[in-house]
Symmetry: C2
Subunit: 415 residues, 2 copies
Amino acid sequence: MARIVLKFGGTSVGDIDRIKNVARTVKKEVEQGHQLAVVVSAMSGVTNQLVEYVQRIAPLYDEREYDVVVSTGEQVTTGLLAMALQQLGVPARSFQSWQLPILTDEAHAKARIESVATSPLVDAMSAGEVCIVPGFQGVTAGGRITTLGRGGSDTSAVALAAALQAERCDIYTDVDGVYTTDPRITDRARKLAMVTYEEMLEMASLGSKVLQTRSVELAMNHRVRVQVLSSFAEAPGSALPGTLVVDEEEIMANGLEQSVVSGIAYAKDDVKITVDAVADRPGVAAALFGPLAAANINVDMIVQNVSHDGKATDITFTVGKADLARAQAELEKARNVIGFAELKIDPNVAKVSVIGVGMRSHAGVALMMFETLAAKGINIQVISTSEIKISVLIAADYTELAVRALHTAYGLDAA
Amino acid sequence: MARIVLKFGGTSVGDIDRIKNVARTVKKEVEQGHQLAVVVSAMSGVTNQLVEYVQRIAPLYDEREYDVVVSTGEQVTTGLLAMALQQLGVPARSFQSWQLPILTDEAHAKARIESVATSPLVDAMSAGEVCIVPGFQGVTAGGRITTLGRGGSDTSAVALAAALQAERCDIYTDVDGVYTTDPRITDRARKLAMVTYEEMLEMASLGSKVLQTRSVELAMNHRVRVQVLSSFAEAPGSALPGTLVVDEEEIMANGLEQSVVSGIAYAKDDVKITVDAVADRPGVAAALFGPLAAANINVDMIVQNVSHDGKATDITFTVGKADLARAQAELEKARNVIGFAELKIDPNVAKVSVIGVGMRSHAGVALMMFETLAAKGINIQVISTSEIKISVLIAADYTELAVRALHTAYGLDAA
């Protein structure tokens, strides 16, 4: 008998019929003898409606009251799913965050979970009840309702699985697993049976929407085995149809052949900024990036050219498209201190990344990337690397071509 | 500086613009220096939507989980109104039932309030904050969410006013007070400046929808001064524009001339059942009404005819239309024990009532009623009386005629 946490997102509980379908999926797990805690999101559209109410009331709202309003969507789903399970003859009850409690810090609207009290859940599960818990929320030590920020239900599920020392945390979503690349770009993309936390983190931060980044960090820190699987699969409850996100040791212990590269990711959310003709002297980078950091603007890839003449150089970097206007304003304000000639903005860029823990122990992974792109005539504008990832910035028009070429080059194509 | 509880119902907070309007009304009370707690309903339509979800999930639902679902509507309004007040520069915050707590018994979906812990509210009000509290709900000693049953927000407001020893409980609704009779029947109906708890109770139980019966009982028991007033009035916050529900002493102390009769009420919710030719012997009434009481069917007016021949008699009584089918079934089951010839059913009846605490000390009130109806050729089928009320059952077609004639006869017509 295993203890498992299941999590169902907004589209999985999108309407009454889908909630009934989720109840059937949960029932199949119950019939396998597992003890279950289920984390649910709000029915799709509900949270957006509540956020719209708040924005119409007060553009600059009190985040404590915002949390009171938007946390209700998940509460509704907990009660409905508990009743749907009872209707199928499965004992079930809901537990709101304050009833456990799930304690968070006081950063309303973007709170972090500090602890999960599990004894009410353990008691109920031992008595044969399925426990339904709202995702995305908690309560402060002072007893006020908090939310974790959008997408926080994944984090709720992983935190609960960690606290319950669950054997697995199953994240039911609208895709059936993690793929070697976006299946919309190539029909040769393959579903991965297993992927490491580190690789999943890179994929999540690179724009793969399968799991929220914080939930992967939390899973990695607490060694929570996460399974991504589809809530719309033909045979819910069948054995391991999704992708397991686990640590490297488990993958090796399973005797799976760990390929050097696990996947090719891409993101089109960034814009390239080139600061032209800045003085080539110590401290200029700090003068440039200091104001951006102070304004909480996240700078991603950075490259500094070799000086033209020992006096002036160019610095190129990327920021998120949403931050572009603020970044330009900050740089113009600091123009006299930095002393640059002009800012060149290029929004037509894409970041393409090769990800794999295997590259730690394999040479030549980067070289294969550069050669593959060169063979297709794709110019690399910026390069950045980490231990398990190589990213390049290219013209956005070449994104699909690059992804497909790399997918083939690293031997990821489905047979 | 007075402490006042305000309550706004579903239509008063029906959409975002109306919530903003409520915030303006509350602000005017704040500007008069009052300490305020505000009880709110769900936005109109929200609770019905949630109930429909529950019914689609499970026709025989777990009332504990029903309460988890339907209690969310009020929570949303508390947060939105707090933000709307803040937007007007008025410090405000929401308190959910479990945050105080408002303790109830464990009769989910129809719970009764047992106590209201007010110290968090008193602290906040003393610090200059308006406290927003959800109506219609509470929490059990074991920490599970309860609701009070439909219309329970009036009861929440009165219970809160009693616990806070508030000077007044203002119930904002879609009518601007209590009238001498239904203004849709006669344009000579007058708004009452004051009415006693006892009279209001009779009016509420006779179908006047202004206040929920339980809230009036609670107000009477705790001597909470209740004001009924319109949330759509031209000048919100102006002095006492509605009807005050208070005790008899306050009305007399105010030197108001207390008329013998305060109002004429009517109800068309009942059906008349005549049990024909039952044996005229001791115990037959018990044999008749025992099964109805056992089936939880409320019998209202009862009349037993004088025996025709010393052997058989007729018994006539009324039950709510919703209970008719069940009442018939119970009586048929007991037919052999009771021994009657037939059941005659007449749904085309109305109960018209004359209400007034003054009739305790005035003779001739009933006589005037009978004479007035006789003069209009209206036949009285059943009569029942209490200390402050005389009710008659008549043919439903004569309802409006009877109400208008009685309104004139008792001197209630507006000038």
